[in-house]
């Protein structure tokens, strides 16, 4: 029994359905881009997403004209939806890097069929995340002041602030994610260049493929570089959400100032990211008939990752509550009491139900293989993780040390339009991506086939 059948026997569903060859894998994935006619469903879906993206443009345009007074932010809640959404989006991005880098280093070859679109998801999620801090600075046309550059004012950023760390962490993350994604695409772009019959497409894919010809020397360096990038992206992805959590943890606001934040933020990021991966993978595999490549195994494994990270998040909540009581600090104790009994108590209970209670059904194997059930559970987790950030940002700020400065947060229609607009931007980018680029890594799928093994 060779490795492959052994693995099969151990894990049930295969990573790739039997019967495929190099040619069928290539044709199946590249035909989605090259020959398959664009369906009406795609136009409708893209149209809706594009309209939502235009809503974002409108909301941001109005914001630039009027200033952030159009939002619900005010003293004491200076960090409203903008920061909630920033943390939510950047967290979603983390699953893409986890799948492409960490699972590569751990030799989890099942990742090969979902890493490409998970990486695309990362890029688009980081793009959506990046919008929020920029428009939140109040004078976004001066946002470049965040970077250290020699200027006539003679001033420099303040490097003891976690907010400036965040600038470096997020911009590094966006750059490395883009490089990783693009380098992974190069051999597949060469395949599209060689397969396509349309002159314009040949030119565009040809330029992007940079003359890739699959030389053994090139592959050797390519694999080294890819592995090194994975090795670099692994600590990077852990650092990004750690630094995001520092934005809170370094502050002294009760509910923010805790040491559990870095690991619990990273776990929460991966939790919501896998939920988004499932919400994208389930319809995509159905619509494009990719059940052979994104098999039950992938759904099962993603569900298991969700379950595990969800439990880490639950542990974070328990420790937060425990420390609120055990520290003996009256402000921390009040934060806990306020979450359970304050004006936002329903958000807190909804959070517990969405993030801890409902996902426990993933223990049931039958449900882990039911795409529809997984789709809805993932949606619940995404809502839950958004609520978590809402509670961290808004509920911590609305009752701080001075009772005279207590207040409530009421998001305006502009807050909602900006938030929903970024979802539109994200989906529109995903729609374009599945239409013009191979959404599954073709060359990595070839390596999974039995015939790819060199026999002695």
């Amino acid at each position: 029994m060779d490795d492959r059948t052994e693995q099969l026997a151990k894990n049930g569903a295969p990573v790739i359905e039997p019967g495929h060859t190099f040619a069928t894998v290539t044709d199946k994935i590249s035909s989605i881009v090259l020959t398959r006619p664009t369906s009406n469903g795609w136009y409708v879906g893209f149209g809706i997403a594009f309209l939502l993206a235009m809503t974002l443009l409108f909301a941001v345009g109005y914001l630039f004209a009027r200033g952030i007074g159009i939002w619900g932010v005010n003293v004491p809640i200076g960090w409203g939806f903008a920061i909630v959404n920033f943390v939510w989006w950047i967290g979603i991005g983390h699953a893409g890097t986890l799948i492409s880098a960490i699972l590569l280093l751990l030799r989890q070859s099942w990742r090969n069929s979902i890493n490409r679109f998970a990486e695309a998801m990362t890029l688009f999620a980081v793009a959506c995340a990046g919008i929020f801090p920029l428009i939140h600075v109040g004078r976004p046309w001066l946002a470049y002041w965040l970077f250290p550059y020699p200027n006539s004012m003679g001033v420099w950023p303040q490097f003891r602030s976690p907010l400036i760390w965040d600038v470096f962490a997020v911009s590094t993350y966006a750059t490395i994610s883009l490089l990783f994604w693009f380098i992974g695409l190069v051999p597949d772009l060469a395949t599209l260049r060689d397969r396509s019959t349309n002159r314009v497409a040949q030119m565009i894919y040809g330029i992007l493929a940079m003359g890739w010809r699959g030389s053994a020397r090139h592959w050797h360096r390519y694999e080294t570089a890819y592995l090194l990038l994975a090795g670099l992206a692994t600590p990077l992805v852990l650092s990004v959400h750690t630094v995001v959590s520092f934005d809170f943890a370094i502050g002294i606001v009760p509910g923010w100032h805790t040491t559990i934040f870095p690991p619990y933020f990273v776990a929460g990021a991966i939790y919501s990211g896998f939920a988004m991966v499932l919400m994208l993978a389930i319809p995509i595999r159905k619509v494009y008939g990719l059940e052979d490549f994104i098999t039950e195994r992938h759904l099962q494994n993603s569900a298991k990752v969700m379950l595990a990270t969800g439990l880490i998040v639950a542990y974070g909540y328990v420790i937060e509550a425990f420390m609120g009581w055990y520290s003996g600090n009256r402000y921390d104790a009040f934060t806990l009491w306020n979450r359970l009994h304050g004006p936002y108590k329903w958000d807190y209970f909804a959070l517990l139900i969405c993030n801890i209670v409902i996902p426990q059904v993933l223990w049931i194997r039958k449900l882990r293989t039911k795409p529809i059930a997984l789709f809805f559970i993932s949606g619940v987790v995404l809502v839950g993780m958004w609520l978590e950030r809402f509670i961290i940002v808004v509920v911590s700020l609305h009752r701080d040390f001075l009772t005279s400065s207590w207040g409530m947060y009421y998001p305006t229609r502009w807050d909602w339009m900006t938030y929903i607009g970024t979802i539109g931007l994200f989906l529109a980018a995903m729609f374009l991506f599945v239409r013009i680029l191979p959404m599954i890594s073709i060359f990595e799928m070839r390596t999974l086939l039995p015939e790819a093994e060199v026999k002695e």
């Binding site: 190099f22 010809r213 699959g214 390519y222 990038l229 600590p235 015939e451 060199v454």
Partner: protein, 178 residues
Amino acid sequence: MKPTPLYGMMAEFDTPTDLVAAAERAHHAGYQKIDAYSPFPIEGLAEAIGFQKNRVPLVTLIGGIVGGLTGYLMQYWISASSYPVNVGGKPYHSWPAFIPVTFELTILFAGISAVLGMLALNGLPMPYHPVFNVPRFAFASKDRFFLIVFSSDPQYNSKATRDFLERLNPRSISEVPS
């Protein structure tokens, strides 16, 4: 019209196993200027054609060191020398606070060096290459495996090399015009 000089002789194979075996035999037969093309990375193929020098790790390491030094020294110079600001009584040179940016710039420089270094060492981007003149080479990005002996090889001889490639049982043999 004068016939164009040949760039090399190319043999086509069906499986990665055949390609690795053929590459090993060509290397043992004393051919030095050879290359192999495949639609996915094959373990041991680079070694089979006698490729050893892979400088990507070194380039990445240098990039990382430069990035780390840049990050730390920039923060030190800004915070302690060019624009010292007293923040909550912390020292101007508060090194623990400088670690996150130092770390991020290490990763950033190392990652960019890995990618650009790999491309530069591979001589990419290179939109034109003689091997693309062979029509069957379009399958090198799909399901076929190619071995080429360059005409610059000291042992290259159009008849002897063709005979040698014939003995490897290829699916087809093509001459590559330069």
